[in-house]
């Protein structure tokens, strides 16, 4: 069948906090109309840009997150146009507090689901506070535990805007739940996402319930953790690999590998089977493991380590991922077309189904669908 949400009309007025949700929604069949002001969505201003394409069509964030959607330009003062678009909406995505939104309740049918993604939620003392990806991570406690001890704490993969995508994905979950509830109730409802809580959702390993339990004040631990050895990132000839050795069988395989390749027989001694001993001599263990890793490539270490049953992965860069043999063989990467008709590689469907769900078109030009919906 076509996507399970074909026939559902979605109106999106958000920026980065909601874009990942409506992209997925469109890929699953929904008709997603993005309302843009005359100068375009803020997503269109985000670098990196494609060369030889003029603004507002050159942002790669737009070209990616706008995929599958339709662009309708509505002047903020044109209440009639807004009313017309909203009158047949099943779902509206917003990223503003209700009092700041031009979308009043009377503009929406009773059956509409109103999904609001805001920095700290619709209630509480910080309701009007602003946020960003960085600020969301700071407020969640995750930022405090990430980074090297002697450096400023850092956001997890800051560039990627993970906290915003987590908000968006949560918003889509809520929206799909509300659509399901509508099957029995016949009415819409409000879905609320606090971006702060979406980041807190990722925090259990560093979070309050675990802290109540062990009373350990969590500090940054760089790229290795004192849960085991080897445990974390180790340098190799073209970057780093990640090795997580906790289980006895993993250590045996690891020690054997080091001994075979570096001639280190000491590492095979039985005393190191004990995790406690390995922790006490962690610098030594790290040095021995590095003697194995430094002269080899990520991919060599990955495939050989995995062959030996050791939990090891490459610390992949974007380039390594695009060239990755598994992703190539699985035909994961897809293509989209830019406005200058250049084909460009993009991530493919986020999951695979035995029913033909996923289908996504290139991002629209500014106002490409205005005529269609308001003409």
């Amino acid at each position: 069948m076509a996507g399970p949400y074909s026939g559902v009309r979605v109106v999106d007025t958000t920026g980065l906090a909601g874009a990942y949700a409506t992209r997925l929604f469109a890929g699953l069949g929904a008709e997603v109309i993005r309302l843009e002001p005359p100068h375009g969505s803020p997503l269109r201003t985000l670098a990196p840009f494609a060369e030889s394409i003029e603004p507002p069509e050159n942002s790669l964030w737009w070209a990616y997150l706008g995929m599958g959607t339709q662009s309708v330009v509505v002047d903020p003062d044109d209440g009639d146009a807004l009313a017309q678009i909203l009158s047949e909406a099943d779902v509206v995505f917003e990223d503003r507090l209700p009092e700041q939104s031009p979308i009043t309740a009377d503009l929406l049918p009773d059956t509409a689901i109103r999904t609001t993604i805001v920095p700290f939620g619709l209630t509480g003392p910080k309701r009007a506070w602003k946020t960003s990806n960085l600020v969301s991570w700071a407020a969640s406690g995750v930022l405090y535990t990430t980074g090297f001890q002697d450096k400023v704490p850092v956001a997890p993969a800051g560039h990627l805007q993970l906290a915003l995508h987590a908000s968006a994905a949560s918003a889509l979950v809520g929206t799909l739940l509300a659509l399901r509830a509508r099957r029995t109730s016949g009415t819409g409802q409000e879905v609320e996402i606090s971006m702060h809580e979406a980041a807190l959702m990722f925090a259990p390993e560093t979070g309050v319930p675990v802290f109540l339990d062990d009373r350990v004040h969590r500090e940054r631990s760089g790229n290795r953790r004192d849960l085991g050895r080897p445990f974390g990132l180790y340098p190799c000839s073209d970057g780093f690999v990640s090795i997580i050795v906790l289980m006895p069988r993993h250590w045996s395989a690891m020690a054997e590998w080091v001994a075979e390749t570096t001639g280190n027989e000491t590492i095979m001694e039985e005393v190191f089977q004990d995790l406690g001993v390995r922790m006490e001599s962690q610098d030594l263990i790290d040095t021995w493991v590095e003697e194995l890793t430094v002269g080899r490539t990520r991919l060599e270490l990955f495939t050989e380590g995995q062959r030996r049953g050791i939990p090891i992965t490459p610390v992949n860069t974007v380039s390594a991922l695009v060239d990755d043999p598994h992703l190539q063989a699985a035909q994961y990467w897809s293509k989209t077309q830019l406005p200058n008709e250049v084909e460009v590689t993009v991530p493919g469907a986020p999951f695979r189904t035995n029913s033909d769900w996923w289908n996504i078109t290139p991002a629209p030009l500014l106002g490409q669908h205005t005529e269609l919906h308001l003409g």
Binding site: Y5, L28, A47, P48, A50, L60, A63, T123, G124, P125, K126, K130, L134, A138, G141, F148, V152, P153, V154, P156, A157, L160, L162, A166, A169, S170, V173, L176, R180, T187, Q189, V191, E192, S194, E197, L200, F202, T206, V208, P209, L212, H217, G222, G239, F240, S242, I244, G309, P311, V318, L321, P325, H326, A330, Y332, W333, T345, V346, P347, N354
Partner: protein, 443 residues
């Protein structure tokens, strides 16, 4: 639009869950919260990691060994409101009982490895043979196609973030990747995608009557977050990587020192309005940084100036001052800060629910909030094997005798020593940090 007596969105939906750690359990918990009957199948021979961890204060207590698997704070974080059924799937009798439950389920959810599921005889084809219209959602590390190169590889939680490129993007540009394995974003993103896939599958079933097989390769699904960087690499060969806390869209943005040991404030003032507000709060007299391009090219210098200003402030006080003039800012929270955060508490982020072993327990709430059909927390457990008999009887239709025989044959197990009850050491003062919770002395 307000009718809070509405039926929960997933009421009447039954989920068979084979979950370990986070990716599938977190999705199952979300479904349980919104009304589904989520049956978590557990093993004593190869237990879920949340059962092995236990609780810090129980580790030295040999008398509580039977209770230990129920005491980890991760149990409710990942499994609240589910039912726990002890089945040993490697035994024929255990597997048969599982299939009888599966026949009565709407959703099959698992993050076991693809090979492990096949070896258990619980791959899609086998499950669809007993329940053709099931929504089958699996989250293997590298997909379920045995022909693919990494199919047999082991996926291990903390390795997932580096694999999918997140570690390379984490840290300061001049340093090695900082690594983010303290938390596991790919697990949670996979869980959210699994919830989206499950709801989509249920929607398809409503429309067509047909089930679906969804294969979520955790390697692939998180890569969907790398879109613009993959495109730029393809177009120009640029390999984007970590840039600390900076933004490629403007300056300043960063984490700045405050008064006190390890006290920091995070600030984003990348747009003109925010910058002007920050600059005026700092009492800036020069107009050197008026231009956005100049702020961007001199962002290291700008960071130094801001750090000199922030370092004398209390971070909470400074965040309030900044927010009051419209600048996005927050203290870099510790757990101690979160426990004192009136905002987080006013929204009841931390929840308390009954627990068979502990009486009650504290766990994190749900970031998805629905006005008319809010979710519910029926249980902060479950305890290991707590619902074995109940589910085998009510769902699988087995008689008491059949169940006892199954248990005797080690195909199933029930909760160990249900009479061993214990309270968390902080049980008496939960009310002091969670507003609205009863003082244990009054219970």
């Amino acid at each position: 639009m307000s009718n809070t007596t509405s039926q929960l969105p997933l009421e009447g939906i039954r989920v068979f869950e084979l979950g370990i750690a986070i990716a599938s359990p977190f999705c199952g918990r979300l479904m349980a919260h919104f009304g589904a009957d989520v049956i978590k199948i557990e093993s004593q021979l190869s237990p879920d990691v949340v059962r092995i961890i236990g609780s810090a204060w129980v580790r030295e207590r040999d008398d509580l060994a039977a209770a230990a698997p129920d005491t980890s704070p991760y149990v409710p974080e990942m499994n609240a409101s589910k039912r726990s059924v002890g089945l040993e799937l490697k035994t024929d009798a255990g597997r048969d009982a599982a299939l009888r439950i599966i026949a009565e389920c709407d959703v099959f959810l698992a993050n076991f490895g693809a090979r492990a599921l096949t070896e258990l005889g619980l791959d899609y084809e086998s499950v669809a043979a007993v329940n053709p219209n099931i929504v089958y959602v699996q989250l293997p590390g590298f997909g379920s196609d045995p022909a693919m190169p990494y199919y047999p590889f082991v996926a291990w939680g903390p390795n997932q973030a580096p694999l999918v490129g997140l570690d390379d993007f984490t840290g300061h540009a001049a340093d090695p990747p900082a690594g983010i394995a303290t938390v596991a974003p790919p697990d949670y993103m996979s869980a959210l995608h699994a919830a989206i896939a499950t709801l989509s599958g249920l929607e398809q079933r409503e429309i067509t009557g047909q089930g679906v097989h969804v294969d979520i390769s955790q390697f692939e699904t998180t890569l969907a977050l790398l879109g613009p960087f993959v495109m730029d690499y393809d177009l120009t060969g640029t390999i984007h990587s970590r840039i600390g806390n900076h933004s490629s869209w403007g300056a300043p943005q960063g984490v700045y020192p405050c008064a006190g040991h390890e006290r920091w404030v995070a600030i984003t003032a990348t747009d003109t309005e925010s910058w002007e507000a920050l600059s005026s709060l700092m009492g800036a007299t020069s107009n050197e940084f008026d231009s956005a391009d100049h702020r961007m090219s001199q962002r290291e210098e700008l960071d130094r100036i801001i750090s000199d200003w922030t370092c004398t402030f209390d971070p909470h006080d400074l965040a309030h001052r900044l927010q009051s003039v419209g600048v996005a800012a927050h203290v870099v929270s510790t757990n101690e800060d979160l426990l004192h955060d009136t905002h987080t508490m006013s929204r009841n982020w931390y929840q308390v629910a009954p627990h068979a072993r502990l009486g009650r327990d504290v766990f994190s709430g749900c970031a998805v909030k629905l006005s008319d059909t809010p979710g519910r927390w029926t249980d902060a457990g479950p305890s290991l094997g707590q619902h074995t008999r109940e589910v085998l009887s009510d769902v699988a239709g087995m008689s008491d005798n059949e169940i006892s025989e199954l248990v005797a044959a080690n195909g199933a197990f029930e909760q160990i020593e249900p009479e061993t009850l214990v309270s968390r050491p902080w049980n008496d003062w939960i009310h002091l940090f969670l507003p609205g919770v009863d003082d244990a002395r009054d219970l």
